[in-house]
Amino acid sequence: MLIRGRTWRFGSDIDTDAIIPARYLNTSDPVELAKHVMEDADPEFPGKVKSGDIIVADKNFGCGSSREHAPIAIKAAGIQAVVAKSFARIFYRNAFNIGLPIFESPEASEKIQEGDEIEIDADSGLIRNLTRNEEYRARPIPPFMQELIKAGGLVEWTRRKIETA
């Protein structure tokens, strides 16, 4: 699968309160959540982001709360993928579970500038920066996580497992 899009830059330790503030958590409706995505990191972001865009961040993206509303808001806003130097553990897990593609790549995180057009080969983990004509490698996705992605997320994976049991 190829993911191509324009990038938005964020810094280190972007927490889930910044991704989707708790004041909006009286709903889990993805459309409602998407209206406030990244609002406390950049209040103008929900108005600027376009479907198909990609978020690029520094280390520890998604730290803090376990709220799945965070990757849901990102996905529902039309953001295709998140590339970061590293991800907080629960966010990493949640992203795979709900089918939001994420890629760990310190090199891409350092070199990509806001607005760069990038193309990610989700299978090989190769990230091409079309604006700067550079290539970066993402850390390989563990086989079990690939299995989850292929199944279409944890719900589908579990459903099949129960059926075959």
Binding site: A18, P21, A22, L25, S66, A88, R89, K161, I162
Partner: protein, 419 residues
């Protein structure tokens, strides 16, 4: 093996596991709250399982926006209520019985040593204080585990933290964990288990241990854990609703990092905006004017915390430029505080005392900050907008510093009140 590896191996039906391995393990308890359960319920429906794997092992605690703060929150809480009735969940805690989940479940004996617990709440790591492996997951993880009674895990590497020396006056579990987070950073234990030990931890009461493990997530940790001892057993006896197993780490267990802290040098600390790792001694912040003090939460809302705050308040009044909000974490804590006269001390001081709720800790309700306002809170996070307006600020401290701050109207120490 470490205690973490032993618990994971036992629940995976294996003799041994090693860090980095992916395993499927049986869970003893699954937890969700009024924010995270609605998504779990929805995803559970999609899996196609009709019943949860065991109605005695799924706990729903509506504590975040409960008592229901608005219509949408009420609808979320109703989802938990209806699902719990429909599934015959034995551990659904209605308003009136509910408390802040991570204070409530250990207090009521629903988590025991040796357990493997997952919760759709990041502070699920709290129960490591009982010698259990417990970790925060997402709602979809909870949905899948409710169906199967299992969950997938990557066996974490362990880091050991040794606390030696002795604790100064007004220094407790909160200061130990803030000091640790300040040392290693908010991702210093990313994906890892944090094992706390040493003479100071062995002397620490259960409340302080729960506070330490509670904030393991603030260092990025997958879990925090303390090998159970006499203090653990004394706490668990009379509470445990299930049989328990005491695990310990082998002398030759492997750790990716071992850190030692001389606690004699640790003073009351404050984590400044906007990261829990932004730690400074409270005495250096004495010119910081404060608008609100919150004492409560899964971190510091237990009876020991209220005692500490009440001792500092004594017969004093809350500074007229500041609001003080006290939130006992559970009904049992509230009742005990009433019995001991602590609630009277708070009310006489012009503090407000609330029914149990997570409320202001995550900017939900019961004390939201306006633009530009600053709070000192005994809670666990000080991210941008955490307690209200994106331009408000949260400083994290122990209950004694928070109480002294409430009296002084600025960040301060109990010593300044002659204590």
């Amino acid at each position: 093996m470490t205690i973490t590896e032993k618990i994971l191996a036992a629940h995976a039906g294996r003799k041994e596991v090693s860090p980095g391995e992916l395993i499927n393990a049986r869970v003893d308890l699954i937890l969700a709250n009024d924010i995270t359960a609605p998504i779990a319920i929805r995803e559970f429906g999609k899996i196609g399982a009709e019943k949860v794997f065991d109605p005695a092992r799924v706990a729903f605690v509506p504590d975040h926006f409960a008592p229901q703060k608005d219509i949408k929150a009420a609808e979320q809480c109703r989802m938990l209520r209806l699902f719990s009735r429909d599934q015959g969940l034995e551990l659904y805690f209605e308003v009136g019985r509910m408390g802040v989940e991570h204070a409530l479940l250990p207090e009521q004996g629903h988590v025991v040593p040796g357990d493997l617990v997952i919760g759709a709440d990041s502070h699920t790591c709290t129960y490591g204080a009982l010698g259990a492996f417990s970790t925060g997951v997402g709602s979809t993880d909870v949905a899948a585990s409710m169906a199967t009674g299992e969950c997938w895990f990557k066996v974490p590497e362990s880091m050991k933290f040794i606390y030696y020396g002795s604790l100064g006056r007004w220094v407790g579990g909160k200061d130990l964990i803030l000091h640790t987070i300040g040392d290693i950073g908010v991702d210093g234990a990313l994906y890892r288990a944090m094992e706390f030990e040493g003479e100071v931890v062995r002397a620490l009461p259960m409340a302080g241990r729960l506070t330490m493990c509670n904030m393991a997530i603030e260092a990025g940790g997958k879990s925090g854990i303390i090998v159970p001892d006499e203090t653990t057993e004394a706490y668990v006896k009379g509470r445990a609703k299930r049989e328990y197993t005491l695990y310990s780490s082998d002398p030759d267990a492997e750790y990716v990092d071992i850190r030692e802290y001389d606690c004699t040098k640790i003073e009351p600390l404050v984590a400044c905006p906007h990261l829990p790792s932004n730690v400074r001694p409270a005495r250096e912040l004495a010119d910081t004017a404060i608008d609100q003090v919150v004492i409560g939460s899964c971190t510091n809302g237990r009876i020991e915390d209220l005692r500490e705050a009440a001792e500092v308040i004594g017969g004093r009044k809350v500074n007229p430029n500041l609001r003080m909000i006290v939130i006992p974490a559970t009904q049992a804590v509230y009742k005990q505080a009433l019995k001991e006269g602590l609630i009277e001390i708070f009310i006489d001081a012009d503090a407000v005392v609330s029914t149990p709720t997570c409320g202001p800790c995550l900017g939900g309700h019961m004390g939201i900050l306006a633009k530009g306002e600053r709070a000192v809170a005994t809670t666990n996070r000080n991210f941008v907008g955490r307690m209200g307006h994106p331009e408000s600020e949260v400083y994290l401290s122990n209950p004694a510093v928070a109480a002294a701050t409430a009296v002084l109207g600025r960040i301060g120490l109990p010593d300044e009140l002659g204590l």
